[in-house]
Amino acid sequence: MSVSTGVHVSLVEAKLLVEYLETGQQEKADELIAEIQNPINSELFAEIGKLTRQLHDSLNNFQLDSRLNDLATADIPDAKERLNYVITRTEEAANKTMDAVESIFPVVDTIQKQIKAVNPLWQKLMHNKLDLPEFKSLCIDIDLLLKTTDKESVRMHDLMTDVLMAQDFQDLTGQVIRKVIDLVREVEDSLIGMLTAFGLSSEGSSEPSKPKVGDNLVEGPIVNAAQRDDVVADQDDVDDLLSSLGF
């Protein structure tokens, strides 16, 4: 006797069933049927269980996905904007500082020039070798030097305050960069969560990945020079390497 569901009823079971029915024991007959069908039920339950788990995981993943979606559509573009802000602010600060410094250079040069002009007659005065016309000339030079120094030192003070104030970018950019670091950490956690949900291990690749390099091995500033042996640590290293090459 073949049953399409894969359930096999034995002759003993069939005879027993007939007996139950003939003797009017309906309940026992039903129980027997259920017993015979039991293997189907446990497979079915197992299958339902598996589907339920998959559905549960899928729903969980869906939650992860919606956060990832937020990250991709909102947080990451926002982070790009933040980092562009850092570039703008640091560039502004560099230019403000250089504006001030470039204004100070000629002031210092002027004062230095006037001191050099005064110096020969001053030395003569110090050695008691100054005559009267020279003394008059020296007085005029010193008068100019005093006036220049007085006026320009006030200006230099202002310019140096500008240099000081230009450094306020560090606080702002520091805060912005810290936020972006938090975001990167969250993206990392989400991605690891997803890998875990899909049963993929995020570990295993014990070897640290090499940084990406472009044409001619370009990589930009090395931030972990101490942990690497393929890079130079400073200018002395460069000079040593070049001299070992016969430079």
């Binding site: 560039e91 091995l217 370009v218 990589e219 020079a225 393929d230 200018q235 460069v238 070049l242």
Partner: protein, 134 residues
């Protein structure tokens, strides 16, 4: 490039190549402080090369990592051009892999400065470059 007395000619034409205007400004200021007055700028190799071919530049200071044409490729192009090959080239770059420094040396660089750098380093390298050429 040198005056008859053997002193460094501060009127020599210098080309400063860097994609960041702030770094160009720093290098220009340092060079000016050392007495160089004839300084031009370019923001990458592909802008610099036609300028070099047109004008009679005496010295090139270049970054390595730039969009468009990189400094190392500019150096190679200068060395490959019979009219330009004599121009000394100083690299000022954040690129710090030993392999890259060897690459630059083989390409015929005259000096290699890693960023961040100091005014004193620039001064020393310039002295060395022109001392050798003289």
């Amino acid at each position: 490039m040198f005056s008859p007395e053997g002193a460094l000619d501060k009127n020599m034409k210098v080309l400063v190549v860097d994609d960041f205007s702030t770094m160009r400004r720093i290098v220009k200021n340092l060079l000016r402080d050392l007495g160089f007055t004839n300084i031009s700028e370019a923001d990458d190799g592909s802008t610099a090369l036609p300028m070099l071919k047109e004008g009679s530049f005496d010295f090139v200071v270049t970054d390595w990592n730039m969009p468009g044409m990189q400094g190392i490729d500019l150096l190679k192009a200068i060395r490959a051009d019979a009219n330009l090959s004599h121009i000394p080239v100083l690299l000022i770059t954040a690129e710090a892999k030993k392999e890259q420094i060897v690459m630059a040396a083989q390409a015929g660089v005259n000096g290699y400065i890693v960023k961040p750098f100091t005014a004193a380093t620039l001064n020393a390298k310039l002295d060395k470059i022109f001392e050798r050429l003289g």
